[in-house]
Amino acid sequence: MTRMARLIDITRCTACRGCQVSCKRWNQLPGEIGPATGSYQSHADLSPGRWTMIEFYEEKKNTGFEWHFRKKTCMHCGDAGCLKACPNGALVREENGTIRHIEEKCIGCGYCTVHCPFGIPKIDEAAKKMRKCTFCYDRITNGREPACAKTCVPRAIVYGTWDDMASLADERLAQAKKLYPNARIYGRDELGGLGVIYVLPDKPSNYGLPEDPRLPASLGIWKQAVHPFGNAILGASLAATGLAFIISRRNAMKLEESAKLEEGGYKDE
């Protein structure tokens, strides 16, 4: 099957948040009523039960005031940090581009969370499982578009083949530039091409996106080294190398520390 993608055109989004509700409805995720954030944004970040949300950005520019809304969701990256980082093969790339989470294999170690440049995966502490957007794998493998794209009224979210979305992005960009001269495409060239291609009104960092997302070159090297021995051996070898400890200390982990881990070291060595 060909690689699929979502085009998310921020210059069209009206922040109705139909996508946010539609995602919860299709995936039967509970409402999470928390204190107000001080803006229209519903929550500070994604959660194990919130796989997409709209972030609100008020921008004062010389050319005037702008208000933009970015749908935050798993990018299903071409070069996926989470997948490379997962020690137990709980993340796999499907032919249609979905970075699919295999529930039974996930041990909730959270290694993926620190290696996602976009801060997407979240750990359900009670279930000890990672949770994130599934790209509506169950829908798209049955000829339907993802729930968020289906519900999007101004067609800010469009679903199609990666190639079609990549060229639609050019059309949309031409339109967007009329109102936002700094508009640009994001996700076409980043990390092997993302499964989400954005049309942004301005530079990525204005909307909480890394300007130049990269994975550490070392990521996954150790895993590749042990991989030929197969998963059973991998599991054993991980236990032997103290993975249980990693899990228990996950909350305390920092990015630097995990970088050290990649090199085969231990936190308290």
Partner: protein, 795 residues
């Protein structure tokens, strides 16, 4: 709407004013985006606050709440001064060329038209607000549009005061933005171009709300933007079926199909029919529609020789107001009202001056609420601050289905009736409202069955022969819809449309404008789902049924020139093909009346003169031309004339008209909605997926005001007006602003009115703040502009 939702894709310029379309009518943006993609259309947003609609518009112009007429008056002046109007259109299709009687005046010194009675606060003598007629009774016209008393010249004179500078100062709008808006929107005054105005409660909920709407009609007429794709005056109605509810007369002054409610001044049918507009207005057929309505209600007992039992209809006291505010004022005063049925409403949250209205409810002997949830109205007796021990009202809550759990039609803003089938059964013992109505009527009729009293005859006679909804809701609704459509009582067949209705008792019809929705030929057209779109204008004539007569754009004769040719090939919609009117929609005209017939060039068939009324002869209650007055609570003085407030506005009964002065309450406040919540919130605040999106009541305020008062974003603050106070979270944002009004800085803030004390998420009721005053014509409350102050909450 004159046009419809899909038609927004046909516009060149959309002016969204007094509406937050992207948030409250998200679907509109699907079509507006298409207009942008395919036609390069521009979207203008004019609003006090920078909203998600402004964010997605090409041009945003802020104006202070309550200055719509100043803004529109400025546009009218711009059109007239720069001759941006569509000359041929207004010369033929409007009353621009008609002469108004001598004696008609407006005096900026008093701010009044002639004929005002100060004691009665009403225009009691409107004799000169009429056309001048020749000896034969024909309206005198000057087609050169030069006569000083022709409507165009009167308007030129009247609106000359609305120059850019004065308008900008009153509205607090940046002058360059204002001019840009005028220039862009009036660019649609050329043949081949079309501009659409989208509005909502930001036009209507003012003491001059009706005149705001008049302004839009005037502008669209001047620009020739009526009756053609991409044009029109388009009310985005606040509820999926609000159009249906007004069509079916859920209003105190109407019978179904916009026929007036009978009053004590019309004791018999002859007197009622004497108020029928004169031919050639299509309204002159009204006697047929009222006779058919009475036949539908009273069956065989309704006969021509007994006035079709017109005497059975309750009569409103002539001149008496029965609107929402009046009812609650009466209740507050302990007069007349013993009980209240509340359904489809939550007045404790939604009504103005909520503290007064909920206090008033304590005088009820009984209260029946129909709602899916226990909302603030059914729990008014335990509201914060109330003493339940002292309230004797007996309250009944009948749980009803939500929209997904029932079937029937809804009529959306585009006048389109669509049947909705039930998706799921409701939980427990909830019932569809029509079942409750059925049981209620049957029980009432049973109680009166043995009465021999004359006064009980209307109840005994009322026909109620529908299949039992408990057995089949579908069959019950089917029977009701057939009755609403109307039948030929001789043949027993459904009538094909309102043209077949008679005044001799041979037809019945529950609502003449819905006639044609269910016919022998087409069946129940509200259930039709054919997608064909001849002409590609989005009319989709086979999808549902649009009243009247399945017309998608009304006044569509205007899309052709006086000779019946399209004004331009680009916007070819309805035209004369030599024998009949042809096109992509049902012509809003006699199908075979040639353009050279005496009335062949007159498209506004509902009016006697068949012309669009730039000047409203006879006037609205507050004048024949819109004039700016300040909201009842305003931070500034009226600079356009020396009358501060609308002279005929609904001022409320003594005691409820509590007005705050600018010295004590210096900040303008407005109430509004957001996408995530639904009206009073009784549904959305009980729905976790929606409640989590907007979990708290908030006050949007500008950074300058926050700095001035030492308020930080996210803090709880108190907002107070002359009526009451509320606490809510401060949302400090550059989207709310400091206006410069007539040389003085004035802050504007606003709150949503979605919150109350019941549900998963709660908050103070914003309507504790709003005033009990309303529009001069409709009595709609002035929710959108009033004065408040704010303070930090220290304890």
């Amino acid at each position: 709407m004159t046009n419809h939702w899909v038609d927004f894709k046909n516009t060149d310029v959309a002016l969204i004013c007094g509406s937050n379309a992207a948030e409250n009518h998200p679907v509109s943006f699907s079509w507006l985006q298409q207009a942008r993609d395919k036609r390069g259309a521009k979207i203008i947003h004019v609003d006090p606050r920078f909203t998600r609609t402004s964010a997605r518009s090409d041009l945003y112009c802020p104006i202070r709440s309550g200055t719509n007429i100043a803004f529109y008056g400025g546009m009218i002046n711009y059109i007239l001064e720069k001759e941006r109007y569509h000359r041929e259109f207004i010369a033929h299709y409007s009353n621009a060329a008609s002469l108004i009687k001598e004696g008609f005046t407006f005096d900026p010194e008093t701010g009044l038209y002639n004929g005002f009675d100060e004691g009665k606060r009403a225009y009691t003598d409107r004799g000169s607000w009429q056309y001048e007629r020749d000896a034969e009774g024909n309206v005198r016209k000057d087609l050169t549009l030069k006569h000083p008393r022709c409507v165009l010249q009167l308007m030129k004179h009247h609106y000359s005061r609305y120059n850019l500078e004065t308008v900008a100062q009153t509205c607090g709008a940046p002058m360059d933005k204002l001019e840009e808006v005028y220039e862009l929107f009036t660019s649609t005054g050329r043949p081949g171009k079309a501009g659409s105005i989208l509005y909502a409660m930001g036009q209507t909920q003012f003491t001059s709300g009706s005149q705001n709407v008049r302004c839009m009609a005037i502008i669209q007429t001047l620009l020739g933007n009526i009756g053609l794709p991409g044009g029109g005056v388009n009310a985005l109605r606040g509820h999926s079926n609000v159009q249906g509810s007004t069509d079916m007369a859920c209003l105190f002054h109407l019978l179904p199909g916009y026929m007036p409610c009978p009053t004590t001044g019309q004791p018999d049918l002859t007197a009622y029919n004497a108020t029928t507009p004169a031919a050639p207005s299509y309204w002159s057929n009204r006697p047929k529609w009222i006779a058919s309505l009475l036949k539908a209600w009273y069956g065989d007992e309704a006969r021509k020789d007994n006035d079709f039992r017109y005497d059975f209809l309750p009569k409103a006291q002539a001149g008496k107001n029965y609107s929402h505010m009046q009812l609650f004022e009466q209740l507050h005063a302990g007069q007349d009202l013993k009980g209240l049925f509340v359904w489809g409403q939550n007045p404790v949250v939604a009504g103005p001056n909520s503290r007064l209205e909920s206090k008033a409810m304590e005088n009820l002997e009984w209260l029946i609420c129909l709602d899916p949830f226990e909302n603030e109205t059914s729990t008014f007796w335990k509201r914060p601050g109330a003493d339940p021990g002292k309230i004797d009202t007996e309250v009944f809550l009948l749980p009803v289905t939500t929209f997904l759990e029932k079937e029937g039609t809804v009529t959306h803003s585009g006048r389109l009736l669509q049947y909705r089938w039930k998706a799921v059964d409701g939980p427990g013992d909830v019932r569809q409202e029509s079942f409750i109505i059925d049981r209620l009527v049957k029980r009432i009729k049973a109680l009166y069955a043995s009465s021999n009293q004359e006064k009980d005859l209307p109840i005994k006679t009322l026909t109620w022969n529908y299949p039992d909804p408990a057995a089949s809701q579908t069959a019950f609704i089917d029977a009701v819809m057939r009755e609403i459509n109307g039948r030929n009582l001789t043949t027993g067949k459904l009538v094909p449309g309102f043209g077949a209705l008679q005044d001799d008792g041979t037809t019945d019809c529950g609502n003449w404008i819905y006639s044609g929705m269910y016919t022998e030929e087409h069946g129940n057209r509200t259930q039709s789902r054919v997608l064909d779109d001849p002409g590609d204008w989005g009319a989709h004539p086979g999808w549902g049924f649009a009243w009247p007569a399945n017309r998608r754009i009304i006044y569509n004769r205007c899309s052709a020139d006086p000779d019946g040719k399209p004004w331009s090939e680009e916007r070819k919609y309805i035209w004369w093909d030599g024998n009949r009117w042809a096109g992509y929609d049902v012509p809003d005209f006699a199908p075979t009346m040639a353009p050279d017939a005496p009335l062949g060039k007159k498209p506004f068939i509902m009016l006697t003169e068949r012309e669009s009324r730039l000047f409203a002869i006879g006037g609205l209650n507050d004048g024949p031309l819109p004039e700016h007055y300040e909201p009842v609570e305003s931070p500034t003085h009226n600079v356009f004339n020396k009358r501060q407030n609308n002279p005929a506005h609904y001022a409320g009964a003594a005691g409820s008209k509590v007005v705050g002065e600018v010295g004590r309450y210096p900040i303008i406040c407005s109430t509004w909605r957001v996408c995530e919540h639904w009206h009073s919130g009784s549904l959305s605040r009980n729905m976790p997926w929606l409640a989590e999106l907007m979990p708290e009541a908030f006050v949007e305020m500008g950074e300058e005001l926050a700095k001035e008062r030492g308020i930080k974003n996210g803090e709880i603050i108190e907002v107070f007006s002359a009526r009451g106070q509320v606490r809510a979270m401060a949302m400090v944002t550059p989207r709310a602003r400091l206006f410069q009004i007539n040389g003085k800085p004035v802050h504007q803030i606003g709150m949503t009115w979605h919150f109350g004390y019941q549900g998963l998420v709660t908050g103070d009721i914003a309507n504790n703040l709003t005033p009990h005053v309303g529009d001069a014509n409709t009595s709609i409350p002035e929710y959108k502009a009033f004065l408040v102050d704010v303070r930090k909450v220290t304890s």
